[in-house]
Structures are given as structure tokens and as C-alpha cells.
């Protein structure tokens, strides 16, 4: 926090017995949204994401074909009035498959983010709040997990078990909570010595209430940012695995396994639209998540609160 600013504030004009004029009443939420909407890239990212998410949700109504229906006469057909974005090597409509693939990719991204963030927040809070040996043990576990080369671990686990979406989500969650845990822990370390937390203790508030009601709401800003960026990261991770043939297995479409299916020189040379559109979707989606994440980072910056 800016000390000069605070000093200035403390020296604001003297009050007439507490009935001074106040700044306009504004809730925390309004300040944050206002700040967020001032960031044009973040708003653009949010709009694109809303479009992508709703198109994935509305896929059954927006799709022109059954995503898994093969039509051998249309193999690698170029974009046309019938196949808007062309057809793949089995004659399936790329446009329809992209819509359904979006459902799967976004679902994996969101769910993995939720599991990683939940584990990270709980472990980070405990480590940061209680400190001592609890902290030491938990942080060494974090170090161990971080020191694994996660891509190899992923490949091993997934080749042993069947690569179902739920499996992917669990594995992503178990391997990626460490960043959030460290983030939350460091926030807790700084907040637990703050006077408002000491005040909560002097009031006799139970530990659970202090952690979840007092510290966490103040520490949640960076977590939301990290979580937003993590969704993009998980979409990429899922695509990477699918690309290696270890992701969600066909015929269920994901953007990653569509890309993977199109890895063939003849397809590259003759049907550019096959790898192009799924790739474009991954690119746009992840980029939008990153824009939104950056916008949230600025908007949730606690210094903004102290106007």
C-alpha cells in the first residue's frame, strides 16, 4: 500500500464531529466492474468468450450436421453452403464438430480449474494461516509435485487409465493446484499479521471465520486471476494430450483431437481448413481468457480500493 497516499489521507480536512461529507457511496463490486470495463481488451475478451461459451452450449441448435455422421462422398470437402467450414477426412462437418468440441474443451478447462483452485485454496490457506510444521510439510509436498515433469506424468497416468474427460480433470487438478496454493499461502502470510485480522482475533471470532470470512475475501483477487488464466492453460493441455493421441478419444470431438486428426501432409496441402479452424478456436479462446485474466488482475488490485 502506498504510504504517502495513506499519510495524505490521514491529513484530509478535519471533520465536524464525524458528520463529514463522504465520497459517493459505492460498493466494492461496482468499483471493480467499473475498472474492468475500462480495459478494452478485457471487454473484448469477455465478449468473445461469451460468444464461444454460448455457441458451445447451444451446439445442438446451431449445428448443421450430426458431428459424428460420416459421409464418404464429402471427404475433405472445402467450405461450401452445406459444410460451412468444410468436412474432415471422414466427411464429418467441421463446423458442427467445432461447436461440440467446444463443449468438451471448455468443460475440461472449467472443471480442471475448479478442482485445482479448490485444492490450492484449501491447502494454501491452511499452510499460510497455521504456519510452522504444517506449512513446512505442505510446502514440501508442493515442491515435490512441482519438481515432477508434469507432461511425462500426465502421459504415464493417462496411458495406464482410460483417457475419459473425468480422468483428465482429476489429473489436471491434482497436478496444478500447487501454483494456487503458493499464491494463497503468500497472501495469508501477509494478511494474518494485518491489524484487522488481529482485531478479529481479539473479538474472539473462530478460526474458520477468520480464514474464510476475513482473510480469504481479501486474498481472492489473485486467485480469480490465476484461475481465469488456468482455464486457458488447461484447454491447451487437453489439446496437447489429444494431439499426442492421449486425450479424449474419438469419436468425441475436442479441438485438440481435431487438430491431431488433421496432422497429415496431404491434408495440410489440400485441406488447410481442417487444421485451421480448430487451431483458430484454441488460439482465440485461450487469448480471450488471458485478456480477461489481465483485466481482472487490474480491476481486483487492492490499491484500487483505497481510492
Amino acid at each position: 500500500m502506498n504510504t504517502n497516499e495513506m499519510k495524505q489521507k490521514a491529513k484530509s480536512p478535519p471533520p465536524a464531529s464525524g458528520a463529514e461529507t463522504l465520497s459517493e457511496h459505492e460498493s466494492m463490486f461496482r468499483i471493480i466492474t467499473k475498472k474492468f470495463f475500462q480495459n478494452k481488451l478485457a471487454v473484448l475478451g469477455l465478449i468473445i468468450l461469451l460468444v464461444i461459451i454460448s455457441s458451445a452450449v447451444l451446439a445442438p441448435w446451431l449445428a448443421t450436421h450430426d458431428p459424428n455422421a460420416q459421409s464418404l462422398t464429402d471427404r475433405l470437402a472445402p467450405p461450401s453452403a452445406d459444410n460451412w467450414l468444410g468436412a474432415d477426412h471422414l466427411g464429418r462437418d467441421i463446423y458442427s464438430r467445432i461447436l461440440y468440441a467446444g463443449q468438451m474443451s471448455l468443460w475440461v478447462g472449467f472443471a480442471a480449474m475448479l478442482s485445482a483452485t479448490t485444492i490450492g485454496v484449501v491447502i494454501g490457506s491452511i499452510a499460510g494461516f497455521f504456519g510452522g510444521w504444517v506449512d513446512a510439510v505442505l510446502m514440501r509436498i508442493v515442491d515435490i509435485i512441482i519438481s515432477f515433469p508434469s507432461i511425462f506424468l500426465l502421459i504415464t497416468i493417462i496411458s495406464v487409465f482410460r483417457p475419459a474427460p473425468s480422468m483428465l480433470i482429476v489429473v489436471f487438478g491434482l497436478l496444478s493446484w500447487t501454483t494456487t496454493a503458493r499464491l494463497v499461502r503468500s497472501e495469508f502470510l501477509s494478511f494474518k499479521e494485518r491489524e484487522f485480522v488481529l482485531a478479529a482475533r481479539t473479538l474472539g471470532l473462530p478460526t474458520r471465520r477468520i480464514i474464510f470470512g476475513h482473510i480469504l475475501p481479501n486474498a481472492i483477487g489473485p486467485v480469480i486471476v490465476a484461475a481465469t488464466l488456468a482455464i486457458g492453460m488447461f484447454i491447451i493441455a487437453e489439446s496437447t494430450l489429444s494431439f499426442l493421441g492421449l486425450g479424449i478419444s474419438p469419436p468425441t470431438a475436442t479441438w485438440g483431437n481435431m487438430l491431431s486428426d488433421s496432422q497429415d501432409l496431404t491434408i495440410f496441402l489440400t485441406a488447410w481448413y481442417y487444421p485451421f479452424f480448430p487451431g483458430l478456436m484454441i488460439f482465440i479462446t485461450v487469448l480471450s481468457f488471458n485478456f480477461v485474466g489481465d483485466g481482472l488482475r487490474d480491476a481486483l488490485d487492492p490499491r484500487v480500493m483505497e481510492k
Binding site: M1, M6, K9, A10, K11, S12, P14, P15, S17, G18, A19, E20, L22, S23, H25, E26, S27, M28, A136, R194, E195, F196, L198, A199, A200, R201, T202, L203, G204, L205, P206, T207, R209, G213, H214, P217, N218, P302, M305, E306, K307
Partner: protein, 341 residues
């Protein structure tokens, strides 16, 4: 500032002699371990509070003064049991609280409250004033009826000079002085017997300081409060406290009634501190200015013997070796100094 606080000067709280102590600290020590290296081995201790004896009488306002880093805040926080005492005993209302576990301290929390120094970091930025005041009531099961609780909150807010209609506002919407009033309201809402005020005005603008001090003074009369008032500024304490304890580097130097301490300070450190207080009246006799040389030694490595000997103008050989004990040099005036043995 001095003029603003003048109002308070003539007010003395009635202290009946032999009155019972509400808070006692006996031989209280709080050492913080210094950890270094990868293995976090303890390589030393910061002796923030190193054996102090303080007894605060019911209904009085006890001022604890000393320069920054002398351990006065640590003493207050340890008395409040925010810190685990390293050694010694804390007695509140006849009950030993020095070894109690957090959950056994729950009832104590209603009796003893704290006002913090920095009104900017002492309020949770994500909570409205109303919820800040409602939470302790809920947790302690007081005013269970929602309307009663609301009434109580508005009453407390009104009492500390805040507009009761501001319950839904967040801390950032208030000025420093108002925030400190919120802090006071929070300390008052559980109706404690005792309040530890940790430099409650030192972060405030001078013109607001006197308002807050006047408020604290009025509240003391109204609710029969006892204050342990921590300050680094003798002029603030002068108008506010009945008795004053002077602290230096984790030790008590002198404890006396306010008038005695100001009229005839005995400990060389108290003398030096008092000589630094600006005169409040042009015709007041000028004191000789005693300037202390050197820096405050590190509490991680305090000097041997009397901790003040490195800066004391009257230093003797004995001071370097033997720790002086507190003794009653004049009635009710306790000094820890070899000059008076």
C-alpha cells in the same frame, strides 16, 4: 495539538487507594525467535518484552510510553493474548490467562478489547461497518434478535460519533478519523471492561487526535472502562492517563502517578523524555534539555546490566553489570535505576 487537548487536563479520574487491579503482568517476557538458513534454525531471540511488571487498576487509565521499538505494543498484544507469552504471568480480573488456549480465551474476549494504531489496516476492506460490528455480537450470542442487534449497532455508532445510517458503507468511504471511530465502535460493541489502546491517535491528524482522545475519555466515564493506553508521545499521555509507565528496550524504567512523573521524574530516561516534550505554556518554566546520544540498541542483543547504560548521562560502573530492580523510591513512584539504591 497541546491546545486542543488542554480540555482534558483538568479531568482526573477518581482512583480509590488500594483499588483492585484489573490487569497484572508479572515478570512478563515475550521473545521472538530469529530463524536463519534453509533449516530455519533458531539463532537468537528478539527480546521485545524482557520481564516487565505492570498492574493496571480498575477504572484508571494507565499510559505505557516509550520510543518506537521498545516493546510497548508487544506488551499490549501479549496482555491481550494475541501473542503467547514466553515467560511470566498475565492476570485479568483475578484469573491467570497467560497459559490459556485460544478457545478458553473466548470469554475473555468480551471483557478485554483492543484499539489499533493504523485505522487503514485495522479495518477489513471487504466488510461494511454494519457487518463488522454485527459479527462479534453474533459470535458471542448477544442481541440474537436481528432488530435488537441493528439497534445496538446504531447506538454504538452514534455513541462514537458516526452517522448510524452509514452501516452499509465500506471502510474506504471514510476518512482516517472516522475509521478510527469505527475501530473504537468495534472495541466497544462487546461492552468490555478494559480496552488496550495501541497508539490509537498516532496515525491521525493533530486536529483529529484531540477529538478521538476526548471521545475515549467520555467513553471511559460512561462505561466505566479501564484503559491501557500505549503511546510514544508523552504529551498525549499527559492529558489522558492517571498513571504512567515508561518503557525502554523491553524493560520498565519508571512507573508513577502522572503528576509525580511530570513534576519529578526520577529515572534518567524519563527525564530525557520529558525534556523533549514541548512546553504547553509560554510562561512555563523551561526545562533543561537532555539530549540522548546514540541509537536504541537492538533488542536481539541488549546491553548487559541496565539496558539504558549505553545512553545514560549518569552511567556508573555498576550499571554495566547488574540489572536494576524496580523499587518504590517515593510513595507510588517506582524506579529501576542504580542511582536510587
Amino acid at each position: 495539538m497541546v491546545n486542543n487537548i488542554e480540555v482534558l487536563e483538568n479531568e482526573q479520574h477518581e482512583i480509590v487507594p488500594g483499588q483492585e487491579n484489573i490487569l497484572e503482568m508479572q515478570e512478563l517476557k515475550k521473545h521472538f525467535p530469529v530463524k536463519t538458513g534453509v533449516l530455519q534454525r533458531t539463532t537468537g531471540h528478539v527480546k521485545a518484552v524482557d520481564g516487565i511488571d505492570i498492574a493496571v487498576k480498575k477504572g484508571e487509565s494507565f499510559g505505557l510510553v516509550g520510543e518506537s521499538g521498545c516493546g510497548k505494543s508487544t506488551a499490549g498484544r501479549t496482555a491481550m493474548r494475541l501473542y503467547e507469552p514466553t515467560e511470566g504471568q498475565i492476570t485479568f480480573d483475578g484469573e491467570d490467562i497467560s497459559r490459556k488456549k485460544e478457545k478458553d480465551l473466548f470469554n475473555l474476549r468480551r471483557e478485554m478489547q483492543m484499539i489499533f494504531q493504523d485505522p487503514f489496516s485495522s479495518l477489513n476492506p471487504r466488510k461494511t461497518v454494519g457487518s463488522m460490528l454485527a459479527e462479534p455480537l453474533k459470535v458471542h450470542g448477544l442481541y440474537k434478535n436481528q432488530n435488537e442487534r441493528k439497534e445496538k449497532i446504531q447506538e454504538v455508532m452514534g455513541r462514537v460519533g458516526l452517522n448510524p445510517s452509514f452501516t452499509n458503507r465500506y471502510p474506504h468511504e471514510f476518512s482516517g478519523g472516522q475509521r478510527q471511530r469505527i475501530g473504537i465502535a468495534r472495541a466497544l460493541v462487546l461492552e468490555p471492561k478494559m480496552i488496550i489502546a495501541d497508539e490509537p491517535v498516532s496515525a491521525l491528524d493533530v486536529s483529529i487526535q484531540s477529538q478521538v482522545l476526548n471521545l475515549l475519555d467520555d467513553l471511559q466515564d460512561e462505561f466505566n472502562l479501564t484503559y491501557l493506553f500505549i503511546a510514544h508521545d508523552l504529551s498525549v499521555v499527559k492529558h489522558f492517563s492517571d498513571r504512567i509507565g515508561v518503557m525502554y528496550l523491553g524493560h520498565m524504567a519508571e512507573i508513577a502517578d502522572k503528576t509525580d512523573l511530570y513534576d519529578d521524574p526520577l529515572h534518567p530516561y524519563t527525564q530525557a523524555l520529558l525534556s523533549a516534550v514541548p512546553r504547553s505554556h509560554p510562561r512555563e518554566r523551561t526545562r533543561e534539555r537532555i539530549t540522548l546520544t546514540g541509537e536504541l540498541p537492538s533488542p536481539a542483543n541488549p546491553p548487559s546490566g541496565c539496558v539504558f547504560h549505553t545512553r545514560c548521562p549518569h552511567v556508573m560502573d555498576v550499571c554495566k553489570e547488574i540489572v536494576p530492580q524496580m523499587r518504590e523510591v517515593k510513595p507510588n513512584q517506582y524506579v529501576a535505576c542504580h542511582l536510587y539504591e
